[in-house]
């Protein structure tokens, strides 16, 4: 069955979630991946999308007004102090939408350039320095793999990766999923290629990475295609409205259009 890159990414990220713990995706595609994982692979995954007041919900169709949808089945409101206790106890899994990830797995969402006088002020470190102390590993969904996003060294360390003096109790840098491929880390040599997506060659990867990759020693595996079952769940159950297209590199929907439809539906329901 033919599929889009977004569908491949959702299906690939869904394989990473384990049960009896929280699963959170901070990007649209990784959020859909957590829903797909709960629908097909880990039914006891605790979802907490969009709002802590709509936590531990069933699998629903994604909407730009998620809180309204998810509240229909959400079982708990999760206070934020409890959230960080769950993190501290290693029962939290997350895909972070980092702006930079470096060769040894450090990540940054705070600033580009110097912190004192940033070239670009992003959103601030948010919960990344916290997720670092409790999570088993930190995974990343990088929407655009470029020399500026996959870098030799991050400009500001929101989470650290491997390297000298690393505190072994901190989260390990986990999987990095980009629009070119899937990557993980070796403690000594840094980022490694797990697979490349269809039609992506090593030359393209090198061209769009901010550090030099070692020459591959053999054929590079291909990221597996989503199964027919995964595609059905993505298209019919978790994203019939096509919110995933907001994160397509050749995106043809606008947030405003999706919001208009969702807001109109909300008015109808009330």
């Amino acid at each position: 069955m033919t599929h889009t890159l977004e569908e491949l990414l959702i299906a690939r990220m869904a394989r990473e979630f384990r049960g009896n713990a929280m699963g959170v995706g901070a990007t649209i595609l990784s959020d859909l991946a957590a829903r797909l994982a709960k629908a097909l692979y880990v039914p006891d995954l605790l979802l907490c999308t969009a709002s802590r007041a709509a936590a531990d919900c069933d699998v629903h169709a994604k909407s730009v007004l998620d809180e309204w949808t998810l509240t229909r089945t959400a079982r708990i409101a999760l206070p934020w102090d409890e959230l960080f206790q769950i993190i501290a106890q290693g029962r939290f899994q997350i895909f972070i939408g980092a702006v930079q990830v470096d060769r040894f797995g450090a990540s940054n969402i705070s600033v580009i350039g110097s912190w004192d006088r940033p070239k670009v002020q992003l959103v601030g470190a948010r919960g990344v320095p916290d997720d670092l102390w409790g999570c088993e590993r930190l995974c990343y969904h990088i929407r655009q793999h470029t020399k500026r996003s996959i870098v030799e060294k991050v400009d500001f360390v929101c989470s650290f990766g491997y390297g000298p003096g690393r505190d072994p109790r901190a989260a390990k840098p986990g999987l990095v999923v980009t629009d070119l491929g899937v990557f993980d880390f070796d403690a000594d040599s840094g980022m490694r290629i797990v697979s490349l997506h269809p039609d992506v060659g090593f030359a393209t990867l090198q061209e769009r990475t901010g550090f030099t990759w070692p020459e591959p020693s053999g054929p590079i595996p291909l990221t597996p295609a989503p199964t027919a079952e995964e595609l059905r769940v993505i298209r019919e159950l978790i994203d019939p409205h096509g919110v995933r297209r907001l994160e397509a590199n050749d995106g043809d929907v606008s947030a405003l259009d999706l919001w208009r439809t969702a807001a109109a539906n909300l008015r109808e329901m009330s």
Binding site: I28, S51, R52, A53, A54, V64, L65, E67, W68, T71, A74, R75, I76, A77, P79, W80, D81, F84, I87, A88, S110, V111, W115, D116, R117, P118, K119, V120, Q121, L122, V123, G124, A125, R126, G127, V128, P129, D130, L132, W133, F156, V157, C158, S159, F160, D167, A170, L246, A255, L256, W259, A262, A263, L266
Partner: protein
């Protein structure tokens, strides 16, 4: 009490903490009243800042900001926060989410600091204004982060319901509001609706905040303005995007403020 009375209780140079998160449940009506009252030299505090930061920054009323995040969630960066940081015209203190909650908790317990492991080894500990210090745990010897108490002069949250006693009900995400209220010196809640008594059989997803942590309640229907207020109204996205586009212009902001939330 009116929103203008609320603004009158704030002095120039005070620290004002805002509840909500990003573009959800922001006390926008109260923020506009503060802007109208001409308060300046403010220290803005929010776990997850949003358009309330941009409004006061764009009008030149802000000396200092403390935050773990400032942005419009899925809808992009906060333009005036960005401009102020990139031009170096505001003093910034960056926290993570858990360290700011820890700073609130220390203040709530009237402690000088509380220890945490969150943030250890990251550049948050290396910024020019970092309030954090590391220290060896007196019991185990491990290195921990000392997070000093953060005590805002004023805390403002927006809620769904308040009762005549001053208890309030939040139906959506509580973000950092609960610890922020307990940390602050003076606490205000603006409410969509003031009722005689809060419903006794509430949803398990709603949160009650006791009047122990609320000094004054002001009725402010649509008080979250263009930000989302579950379940009453969603984000007004066209208006939010227009604000994001125009926020660099102080004249536009001045007319935005005079229009009300």
């Amino acid at each position: 009490m009116t929103l203008d009375d609320l603004a009158a209780e704030i002095a120039d140079g005070q620290s004002v903490a805002f509840g909500g998160g990003g573009v959800q449940r922001k006390p926008m009506a109260a923020t506009q009243a503060i802007a109208r009252a001409g308060r300046t030299g403010l220290h803005l505090v929010s776990l997850l800042g949003g358009p309330e930061f941009d409004l006061l920054l764009g009008l030149g009323r802000v000396q200092r900001i403390s935050f773990a995040f400032v942005g419009y969630d899925a809808y992009g960066l906060a333009p005036n926060f960005r401009a102020a940081r990139e031009s170096g015209t505001v003093e910034a203190v960056e926290y993570s989410e858990a360290t700011m909650l820890t700073a609130f908790e220390a203040s709530a317990k009237r402690l000088p600091f509380l220890p945490t492991r969150f943030g250890l080894g990251t550049d948050l500990l290396n910024t020019a204004t970092s309030p954090f210090r590391t220290f060896p745990c007196p019991l185990t010897g491990e290195t921990l982060v000392a997070v000093p108490a953060l005590k805002p002069d004023i805390a403002i949250i927006h809620v769904n319901f308040a009762d005549r006693h001053g208890n309030v009900l939040i139906q959506g995400d509580t973000f950092g509001d609960l610890l922020m209220l307990r940390a602050a010196s003076k606490r205000f809640a603006t409410a969509e609706c003031i009722v005689d008594e809060l419903p006794r059989q509430g949803s398990p997803l709603a949160t009650v905040v006791s009047r122990m942590w609320i000094d004054r309640v002001i009725e402010a229907p649509r008080g979250a303005g263009m930000t989302g207020m579950f379940p009453v109204y969603p984000i007004d996205l066209p208006r939010l995007l227009e604000f994001q586009k125009q926020a660099h212009d102080p004249d536009w902001l001045a007319s935005f403020v005079s229009e009300g939330a």
